[in-house]
């Protein structure tokens, strides 16, 4: 299966990855080969088979609604690249 450079760039944008030209070129080729290999799943007719999202049969797991301690602000910001009071500071969004 071949994917085009444009498709790879589109996926990189969706994934928020500023890949270099060299990376795009290499990954485009690798993705094609991997998709070719994993595409084998499409040969099965599975219209009647339900999908599995999770292998353990657990539904509606509840906990008691009791307050418990959480991280302090200083702990929550301990690893932040840039803090501004009670906020994570980031470059302009627009």
């Amino acid at each position: 299966m071949l994917i085009s450079r444009e498709e790879a760039l589109h996926v990189a944008r969706l994934a928020r990855l500023a890949l270099t030209d060299e990376e795009i070129e290499r990954i485009t080729g690798e993705l094609g080969a991997i998709l070719e290999a994993v595409g084998v799943v499409s040969e099965l007719d599975l219209a009647d088979v339900p999908p599995t999202s999770h292998p353990l049969d657990l539904v509606n797991v509840w906990d008691d609604d009791e307050p418990r301690s959480s991280l302090s602000l200083d702990e929550a910001f301990a690893n932040a690249p840039e803090r501004d009071g009670g906020h994570f500071r980031v470059p302009p969004t627009v």
Partner: protein
């Protein structure tokens, strides 16, 4: 002064005995392992960092670097988490502490646990203690190499598609991937959430069972955990009378299984029969044909979602950018290595509009079939056996440039992971001087059966877990 203990030979159980009887103090034991690390880890690079003695009254433990440790840098083998110091302990780390275990250090891993050789670590590869020109397997090559080289009595790893079982096979020790949902993942750096599990690595099945009993069970912080249906039993007996062992034909005769691996695994199966087990053939036709493909759609899809959190906002290094988007995209390009990028791209593609049903949706349906065929086989048998890895440890560099070749290393470990089943690796012999691993697969929450059978076989096989070159 001679060292207080021979860390190469010491099992965790023996170490616990020494400390309980007051023959060795936790501090002396900790120092003995740090000394062994100092002596041997320059060559192996099993550890990313070691830690000072904690205040536990027990023995040391090493934790894979995907496990959050309060106050101790945790990078998951990635530059994008360099300098990240967790402000809380993962539940498994907290349970180890509560049991008196002292953290010895954080072990190397493929970046975000993505890989089968530990060569994808941003901090350089780990090497196999049996032959340093070869890989220790992955992604938990650090934990497996540490245990085999006497650099830790036991360790924890994480397993998504084989990252505990396969390194244990390649390094010649015992590793358990527990039933999905039996061990908390709170505080674990997530890779693929419907597959990730934490589990023990040690020299003996008894040690693995003991460590499993410390970490397993429901955790209020992780709603995907369940209470164990029965207490963990540390195994004792040597008889396999009444045990029904299934040999899935496809998993034992798959293309790519080396002759030496086949020979040692068949020898172990014959031994099981001598110990009283009933052995019969069964079939898992879809698991080998579609398992790898199914996994390499589901795992990257989930990874692309889990790794979206690394955006340079809340933790980790941040790249410069004039706008928010530019900062995020550059941070991710600079921070992630080749394999996470490859998997993020693959997963994003498989989840994107127009391809979702054909790839991710289809893989989820194949997963249902793989679960069903395992369930049917495990109605007839108490457990299934096959090789853990198709090959013995391969040379460093041999597969790193060919992703598909690397992915094939997990051919035999992946199907039961997709099915959410527990798998235990025990060493069963040598081929070309390198360890061969036997994989025991049980039903959900069937760990006690795996421990019983694994222990009996381990006694009968008598494998020496100390690498020949270190004896």
């Amino acid at each position: 002064m001679p060292p207080v203990v021979d860390t190469l030979r010491l099992t965790a159980e023996d170490a616990i005995g020494l400390v309980e009887r007051g023959e060795v103090s936790p501090a002396e034991l900790h120092a003995a392992y740090l000394e062994a690390i100092e002596a041997r880890d320059g060559e192996l690079h099993a550890y990313l960092r070691t830690t000072e003695l904690g205040d536990g009254a027990g023995i040391p433990i090493a934790l894979k670097d995907v496990i959050s440790t309060k106050g101790v840098e945790t990078t998951a083998g990635s530059k994008i988490l360099s300098g990240y110091v967790p402000v809380y302990d993962a539940t498994v780390a907290a349970r180890c502490k509560a049991a008196g275990l002292n953290l010895l250090g954080k072990t190397n891993t493929d970046e975000f646990a993505m890989g089968s050789s530990t060569e994808n670590s941003a901090w350089g590869p780990t090497r196999n203690p049996w032959d340093p020109s070869r890989v220790p397997g992955g992604s938990g090559g650090g934990s497996a190499a540490a245990v085999s080289a006497g650099l830790a009595p036991w360790a924890l790893g994480s397993d998504t598609g084989g990252s505990i079982k396969q390194p244990s096979a390649l390094c010649g020790n015992v590793g358990l991937r527990p039933t999905y949902g039996s061990v908390s993942r709170y505080g674990i750096v997530a890779f693929a959430s419907s597959l990730d599990q934490i589990g023990p690595v040690a020299k003996t099945v008894r040690d693995v069972a003991l460590l499993y009993s410390i970490i397993a069970g429901r955790d209020p912080h992780d709603s995907t955990t369940a209470a164990l249906p029965e207490p963990v039993r540390v195994p004792e007996g040597d008889s396999l009378t009444g045990v029904r062992i299934g040999v899935p034909v496809e998993l034992n005769e798959a293309k790519g299984i080396e002759a030496g691996v086949k020979r040692e695994v068949q020898g172990a199966i014959a031994l099981a029969e001598e110990l009283g087990a009933e052995v019969g053939e069964c079939s898992l036709p879809l698991s080998v044909r579609y398992g790898l493909a199914c996994y390499y759609l589901i795992a990257p899809a989930e990874a692309s979602s889990n790794l979206a959190r690394y955006d340079g906002v809340r933790y980790g290094p941040r790249a410069e950018g004039a706008t928010y988007r530019e900062m995020v995209e550059r941070t991710r390009d600079e921070g992630f290595g080749d394999e996470p990028k490859r998997r993020i791209m693959l997963g994003t593609y498989a989840l994107s509009a127009g391809y979702y049903d054909a790839f991710y949706g289809q893989a989820q349906r194949v997963r249902t079939l793989i679960i069903r065929e395992h369930r049917e086989a495990l109605e007839r048998f108490d457990l299934l056996v096959c090789p853990t890895s198709p090959t013995v440890a391969f040379p460093v560099g041999e597969r790193i440039d060919d992703p598909l070749e690397m992915y094939a290393a997990d051919l035999l470990t992946i199907p039961s992971c997709l099915a959410g089943l527990p798998g235990l690796n025990i060493p069963c012999g040598l081929a070309d001087g390198l360890p061969v691993g036997l994989q025991l697969i049980g039903p959900q929450f069937g760990e006690n059966t795996l421990f019983r059978v694994g222990h009996a076989l381990e006694q009968a096989i008598g494998f020496d877990t100390v690498p020949e070159r270190l004896r």
